[in-house]
């Protein structure tokens, strides 16, 4: 059952070939069997999941089921789940049980989706390898010695290992697309404002966007449709109708203009990854699309720009974790200052503290203009580059990550090296664009991701392209043999 696509699962449920309870049990068994090796989930409550499944089955018997009712999924542990521990991968929230659901969690529940558990992640979504989690690193199902990418590493690894057909993720600088690429699945970061941020623990508010993981574009389209849409609780959520994504997957690609930014194929790119990507682009040509070399001249600014703005916002967003109202509090605080400093010092891991300090520094008196304001201006330059190229092409394509999954520990000693690995994904967040990564080949049995980038609110186009590509290729059907 675990090898069915979501559309097939939905069909099986609708036809009464299986119940949600059976499906949920099957995935819970897989989790019990395999997740010890992966560490992709931090919280699994089988009874809770089964209760939801039984409710979904009851709903179906009442003929009140929607297209996804009864399909199991996983939520990244950055999304608040009422009555279920939500840790954000941090000791700070090790025992935190929120009293309410994130908007997208509530929407998934309303659609009848069953939550199997909460996915491991880089602490507060700060990381590109899932090695900063308080709950230990997640391992890549294709090679347990390698990282799954981050920060949504648990979500990606779980879907790749088929511990769940679907998962949510969040993407601030590539945290959906890069792990999707490294784990060989499909991941979509929608346009900023397309999906509600309410109840998603904030990392960098002007960059964060919730999105989806699935094994293929169709699965992603189904989940996105259930999640997306205006939320009056989020001032940055956009009041705009949600298209029927799954219904537009079969548009032909003839005449589609794909821009190929030269900057994505620069010095840092592993040549083998480059070759796989170019082969994938040729498939699009056979589908009738045309390829056009383009330039994003300011793309090189995106790493320093992002690593100024994201920590600045994070340093402020994470001030609420002070040991007063919830979360970790140190033992026997001597006074208020001691309470703050030790609670935060103990509750946060090294990378989170590093980014808080960077952010504090770039916002502090005397440095604000040179760092923060300057970065906001560079953000404009980078965004303008995209606006300009979208005057001549419909979408952009290139490698999601410059290399395949790297080894655990390979970059942990050098944050700058880790930051530079985000080069292909973070500009998309700075500009608020939708971006999708899809499996596009292998290098030494490790997946390669192809990134598609569209203009604002063109996620339907990206899903359409990915689906058409996936009709021609079978990369997305391959799965790691250890997780058969």
């Amino acid at each position: 059952m675990h090898s069915l696509s979501v559309a097939e699962m939905a069909e099986a449920l609708a036809q009464g070939q299986c119940t949600s309870e059976e499906l949920t049990e099957a995935f819970l068994e897989r989790i019990a069997q395999f997740d010890g090796a992966l560490n992709s989930l931090v919280t699994v409550e089988p009874e809770r999941a089964l209760a939801q499944a039984r409710e979904a089955d009851a709903r179906r018997r009442r003929s009140a089921a929607g297209p996804l009712t009864g399909v199991p999924m996983i939520h990244k542990d950055i999304f608040l789940t009422a009555g279920q521990r939500t840790t954000c991968g941090s000791r700070m929230l090790g025992d935190f049980v929120p009293p309410f659901d994130a908007t997208i969690v509530a929407r998934c529940a309303a659609a009848g989706l069953v939550t199997l558990g909460k996915a491991n992640m880089d602490e507060f979504a700060m990381g590109s390898s899932n090695e900063t989690s308080h709950f230990g690193p997640v391992r890549n199902p294709w090679d347990p010695a390698r990282v799954p990418g981050g920060s949504s590493g648990g979500s990606a690894a779980a879907v790749a290992a088929r511990l769940a057909p679907l998962a949510t993720g969040s993407d601030t600088g590539g945290s959906i697309r890069q792990p999707a690429a490294l784990c060989g699945i499909t991941g979509l970061k929608p346009t900023y404002g397309r999906v509600s941020r309410y109840g998603m623990i904030a990392f960098a508010s002007s960059l964060d966007q919730a999105g989806v993981f699935g094994r293929d574009a169709q699965d992603c389209a189904l989940l996105l449709e259930a999640m997306a849409g205006f939320d009056p609780r989020d001032s940055t959520s956009v009041d705009r109708p949600v298209p029927h994504y799954a219904g537009s997957l079969n548009h032909p690609l003839s005449g589609l203009r794909i821009g190929i930014p030269a900057e994505f194929f620069g010095a840092g790119l592993d040549p083998a990854v480059g070759e796989a990507v170019e082969a994938a682009l040729e498939v699009f040509e056979t589908l009738g699309a045309t390829l056009h070399p383009v330039h994003l001249p300011n793309l090189g600014l995106s790493v320093p720009t992002y690593y100024t703005l994201a920590p600045a916002e994070a340093s402020s967003n994470l001030s609420r974790f002070d040991g007063v109202r919830y979360g970790h509090r140190c033992e026997h605080p001597a006074n208020l200052e001691d309470l703050y400093k030790r609670s935060r010092g103990e509750g946060f891991g090294a990378e989170v503290k590093r980014r808080i300090m960077i952010g504090t520094y770039v916002l502090s008196a005397g440095y604000y203009d040179a760092y923060y304001l300057k970065a906001q201006r560079c953000r404009r330059l980078i965004t303008e580059d995209f606006r300009r190229v979208f005057e001549t092409v419909d979408v952009l394509a290139g490698p999601t990550a410059p290399e395949v999954a790297f080894r655990l520990g390979e970059k942990t000693d050098d944050p700058v090296k880790m930051y530079l690995s985000d080069i292909n994904t973070i500009a998309v967040n700075l500009a608020g664009l939708p971006g999708l990564s899809l499996p596009a080949g292998f290098v030494e049995n490790l997946p390669v991701g192809l990134q598609l980038i569209g203009p604002h609110f063109e996620e339907g186009r990206l899903l359409n392209m990915a689906h058409q590509y996936q009709r021609e290729t079978d990369w997305h059907r391959r799965h790691p043999t250890a997780f058969a």
């Binding site: 940055t236 916002e313 340093s315 609420r320 002070d322 208020l336 604000y368």
Partner: protein, 478 residues
């Protein structure tokens, strides 16, 4: 005086919205601790702010009332600092681009002159919670009900030159926000609070002296006392060879002194930056026009109208329009007793004000309604009772309530206007006091008053004074 005092005030007015500025939690005062703190106000992870339309409307209303520039685009910023009553570790405020720009307010000085005080800006922000220091085993308790209550921070230019001017400005502003119905003005509940920036410099000096900010001024009296103390402290300090250090000082109303707030002394670096959870606040001209249409008559205009329409002296008009409620009361009285507006003004500012003062009541708590007072004034004007008797009736109205005519009838206070009856009484008095009559007729005019007194005594004060005078004079002189 050798020293010039320079004061600027920052006034925090809690806006009278039903819900908080960024959440749908209630703003009601006095609820059980933390029962009005939603997950948004508590700074829960994942929660987000959405701006309250009414708070924006009220800010614009204030801006229009002080002839200020309304920013077509303003920005919310985060002011970052750690404090237990600040749940998110930052306060959402406005920094570089406030919603209300430069405006002004005219105040009346004691010498009768009018002075224009510049308003630098007014911006929207959220209030913090409260730390309670009753003993919880040496700990403090945090109540976040107030967290997220909308505030309008109104910043004045350093145009004020004495504690008295500062109080006059603050009172004027207090009346204005109540006129506008954007703030209940309740200072005891903290709805209208003041921080004062105070410095001194030698007369003629161009540069401003180093200022201190005094916090926690929650009454007009405290503002005056705290500023005067601070001015004295600064002058003494400088005259004894010291220098004022820029710092935040807290006014202790019990000890009647200011003291340094050491906790706020460490170099504060608030790291303001635009709040990424909120988008720029764009105010369209149509929105401003709609708010303008809701503006009530403002205090200065109303005062001018009291002078023009009611023929009141400017001073009276100023007093009577000093609060919206008092002006409303006065207008209600005049509407029902239109014959003599000055009489109404005298009664409101005299007898009524005295009673209110005694009971420490405000006009809305008056035990004599505008209709009751008007009923009384009508009977003075139509000479049913004299002013003196009217005070007696007012006493009854105040203590027992009721209606003027009924009280007059019940107590038999109607003026004696029957000339024959009055003449008989006067004749009797003159007959009973032949010695005084002869002395008066011999030129001792002062004795006229004696006869008036006797007549009033005999009539129980009910004689019409003018009529009595007239008759007496005729009888005595005749």
């Amino acid at each position: 005086m050798e020293w010039e005092v320079v004061i600027g005030l920052e006034i925090h007015a809690q806006l009278a919205t039903r819900s908080k500025i960024f959440s749908g939690a209630a703003t009601r005062y006095g609820a059980a601790p933390n029962t009005q703190a939603s997950v948004i106000d508590l700074g829960y992870p994942g929660t987000l702010p959405v701006l309250n339309e009414a708070a924006v409307r009220m800010a614009v209303k204030f801006g229009l009332a002080v002839q200020a520039h309304i920013a077509p685009r303003s920005v919310f910023a985060r002011k970052n600092y750690f404090y237990p009553d600040l749940p998110k570790g930052y306060q959402i405020s406005q920094f570089e681009l406030p919603v209300v720009g430069r405006g002004h307010l005219d105040i009346d000085l004691e010498n009768g002159e009018r002075k224009r005080i510049g308003i630098t800006r007014a911006h929207l922000e959220e209030d913090a919670g409260k730390s309670l220091h009753e003993d919880f085993h040496g700990l403090s308790g945090i109540d976040l009900n107030r967290a997220g209550t909308p505030l309008l921070e109104i910043v004045s230019e350093p145009d004020l030159r004495s504690a008295k001017e500062a109080v006059a400005y603050m009172k004027k502003l207090h009346a204005l926000v109540r006129y506008l119905e954007i703030c209940d003005g309740n200072m005891q509940e903290g709805s209208f609070r003041c921080d004062a920036n105070v410095s001194v410099r030698r007369h003629g000096a161009e540069r401003l002296g180093t200022r201190c900010e005094i916090k926690n001024l929650n009454s007009f009296r405290f503002v005056e006392r705290a500023i005067n103390h601070e001015v004295e402290r600064q002058i003494e300090l400088i005259e004894s060879g010291g220098a004022v250090v820029q710092e935040t000082r807290l006014y202790d109303s019990v000890k009647d002194q200011t003291r340094s707030m050491r906790s706020k002394e460490e170099a504060n670096d608030y790291r303001y930056f635009p709040d990424p959870d909120l988008l720029p606040l764009v105010i369209e001209p149509a929105f401003v026009d709609a708010v303008r249409a809701t503006l009530p008559e403002l205090p200065d205009a109303r005062r001018a109208r009291f002078v023009a329409d009611y023929g009141l002296p400017d001073y009276d008009a100023g007093v009577l329009t000093s609060t919206r409620e008092l002006a409303d009361y006065t207008e209600a009285v005049v509407a029902l007793a239109p014959a003599d507006a000055k009489l109404a003004a005298n009664w409101v500012m005299g007898e009524l004000a005295a009673r209110l003062n005694e009971g420490n009541l405000d006009i809305t708590q008056s035990r004599v309604s505008a209709a009751q007072l008007a009923g009384l004034l009508v009977r003075i004007s139509d000479e049913t009772i004299s002013g003196k008797i009217a005070k007696q009736v007012f006493d009854v109205l105040w203590s027992e309530g009721g209606d003027t005519d009924a009280i007059i009838d019940r107590l038999g206070l109607r003026q004696i206007t029957d000339t024959g009856a009055l003449e008989a009484i006067i004749d009797q008095i003159i007959a009973d006091n032949p010695a005084q009559r002869d002395q008066y007729r011999a030129g001792k005019d002062k004795l006229f008053g004696f006869f008036v007194g006797q007549a009033m005594k005999a009539t129980g004060g009910k004689a019409n004074p003018a009529q009595l005078n007239d008759l007496l004079r005729r009888k005595l002189d005749g």
